[in-house]
């Protein structure tokens, strides 16, 4: 695959150019966490591409936590602007891949998701330094973008080394041809070595793979052990709100003047009322049932439906957990 090098002195110009075409978000490190912030010419551009994924997952760009999806009795059209996500990580791309399947993979296509997806360019960055919470390697992912993204880059002393994965990616490279310089053999070698180091680090952090038949083990899990595993859960739902692959939502109607607005809100399957039906019957009235439903959904159901696991190994759930439950431990122990 052809690579393109953007030398360090050109990065700001490139970002500025892109930000003229659409709002651009990049990772900035602040008080121990990385956040995606909007590029603004008036503020200093201080990206941190080497850090792992941002604290917040990126699904909010395509599937906001609160989104008006219809008006009644008369609907109207809502506009979405073009955006660039510059420097996101591969685990979050897996989240987008899962959402692509749910919202666009089968009929009906969700027009709100699709429009945001169509208007958002995703430029991912390598993770040279995976951290203890990262386990993308156990889900078959590399610590760099190699699908789903439009472009991916590796940060090198010589600049940002890009590769393109879509036609949109090609078009960007083409449009800014003049900014890129010739790629040397050494640049490609440096990239290779960064990637090897990152993969080695990940396999040290997570030396034990998940068992091949993980979905079947989740399906057949022993009830008593599930109860033990969830014993610590205090039902804060942090794991679910932080998760880039979770896609549960609820449609709620609100009165706005004479009209009604239908709002789509992130939901989580740990809520007691989540599956309750009219009259009060509830297939998952107990928390251990709901706790396990999350595992069934991600590792068994989604695998049956789409032949992939609905987890990216981003580690947000284990860092966010009030009870310090590590999803890896539960999966390893099955």
């Amino acid at each position: 695959m052809k690579s393109y090098l953007l030398s360090p002195d050109k990065i700001l110009t490139f970002v500025k150019e892109l930000s003229r075409d659409g709002s651009l978000y990049y990772p900035m490190f602040e008080e121990g966490r990385t956040h995606l912030v909007r590029f603004d010419d008036a503020h200093e551009f201080k990206p941190d591409f080497a850090k792992i994924r941002t604290a917040e997952n990126i699904k909010q760009f395509f599937f906001p936590s609160r989104d008006t999806v219809a008006k009644f009795p008369k609907d109207d059209v809502r506009q979405v602007d073009k955006r660039y996500l510059f420097g996101v990580k591969n685990c979050d791309l897996r989240g987008v891949d899962i959402h692509d399947r749910v919202f666009m993979g089968w009929e009906p296509v969700d027009p709100f998701y699709k429009e945001r997806r169509d208007k958002t360019i995703m430029i991912s960055a390598d993770c040279p330094e995976p951290e203890d919470s990262c386990f993308c390697n156990l889900l078959g992912l590399n610590p760099y973008g190699d699908a789903v993204c439009d472009l991916n880059f590796t940060e090198l002393p010589a600049g940002l080394l890009f590769e393109s994965y879509t036609k949109r990616g090609e078009e960007i490279i083409d449009a800014y041809k003049g900014m890129f310089t010739e790629v040397k053999n050494d640049d490609e070698k440096a990239r290779k070595s960064i990637r090897e180091k990152a993969i080695t680090k990940l396999s040290k952090i997570n030396s034990k793979p998940f068992k091949k038949d993980l979905p079947a083990r989740v399906e057949a899990a022993d009830k008593a052990r599930i109860r033990d595993a969830r014993d610590e859960c205090v039902e804060c739902h942090a794991c679910l709100h932080a998760c880039p692959t979770c896609y549960c939502f609820l449609l709620s109607d609100y009165k706005k003047g004479k009209d009604i607005e239908r709002v789509r809100i992130w939901d989580t399957c740990y809520y007691a009322a989540y599956a309750r039906v009219g009259g009060g019957a509830n297939p998952r009235s107990r928390i251990d049932e709901r706790f396990w439903n999350r595992f069934q959904c991600k590792f068994d159901f989604f695998n049956k439906y789409e032949n992939t696991l609905a987890c990216s190994g981003c580690g947000r759930c284990l860092l966010g957990c009030s009870a310090k439950i590590d999803i890896r431990e539960i999966l390893w122990n099955l």
Partner: protein, 271 residues
């Protein structure tokens, strides 16, 4: 072409309201917001209250749409406060219809309980529309008391139709009730159809579903020929929000009717 908005409900007025029982009412809409096939369902919006899933109880061939609804909670309470001429919203059709092509030339054995007769009525009317295509249609229906029987105004006519065999039972009778007494399985004691080939269709409250299905399996209906209406919590109706998932199915998209073959390995599939 721009994808249409699957979350937008089509506004339509309530034309007529027909109380069926003390807590079940049929709402007839002024027209037909969209075509559907028997077994497919819709999401009904009560403005500024919210929506809930219901299966039309009218014939897919009618030029209007009806729902027969039991009052059980927030959305249905609000609906029961509405009047003829009031505006509601409808989205659909969602899910898969009954596979009527598989019913051709066969005896169709329908088992219903309570308000579960609503979707079954739509199926029954669709079968009546082409009755010559089917060998015979059996209906076994159970309600709590004689007052709780839906479609009392229509059943006597249906019972007169050649090739239709309709039996009823009530859990608790009264002085006026001359029919069978007991839960729906009492009218499943004799099943006069060829169980090897016949399809059976069940819709009703969870316990009724459970015991009727047990009985149908026991007498030898093929597991893939037992069609069950799965009542699950739903929000989107289009296989996105995840609320209705059971086993490996989105009930709104892969159902709402699944077969016993599909759900028999699920623990308590009807809960």
């Amino acid at each position: 072409m721009e994808p249409i908005n699957p979350y937008y409900p089509i506004p339509v007025k309530i034309k007529e309201i027909i109380p069926e029982t003390p807590n079940i009412t049929t709402f007839i809409l002024d027209g037909k917001p969209f075509d559907f096939e028997a077994g497919q369902f819709a999401e009904l919006t009560i403005p500024s209250v919210g929506e809930a899933p219901f299966t039309p109880s009218s014939s897919p061939y009618d030029d209007h749409m009806e729902f027969t609804i039991m009052k059980v909670g927030r959305v249905t309470d609000a609906l029961f406060n509405m009047k003829e001429g009031d505006l509601v919203g409808v989205r659909g059709p969602f899910g898969k219809p009954y596979p009527l092509q598989n019913f051709k030339g066969k005896e169709v054995f329908i088992v219903g309980g309570g308000v579960g007769f609503a979707p079954l009525r739509s199926l029954f009317l669709a079968l009546l529309h082409d009755l010559k295509n089917y060998k015979k249609v059996y209906i076994r229906y159970g309600a709590r008391t004689p007052q709780d029987i839906v479609y009392k105004r229509l059943i006597p006519e249906w019972q007169k139709i050649d090739r239709v065999d309709l039996l009823m039972t009530v859990d608790v009778g009264d002085e006026s009730w001359k029919g069978r007494v007991g839960v729906v399985t009492v009218i499943l004691d004799k099943i006069p159809v060829d169980v090897k080939t016949s399809p059976s269709v069940v819709c009703g409250p969870p316990l009724m579903m459970k015991f009727s299905t047990q009985r149908l399996v026991e007498v030898g209906f093929k597991h893939e020929n037992i069609y069950l209406s799965m009542e699950k919590n739903m929000s989107c109706g289009v296989g996105k929000c995840n609320h209705c998932r059971v086993g490996k199915f989105y009930v709104c998209k892969d159902g709402p009717v699944l077969t016993w073959q599909d759900v028999k390995d699920i623990e308590e599939p009807f809960l």
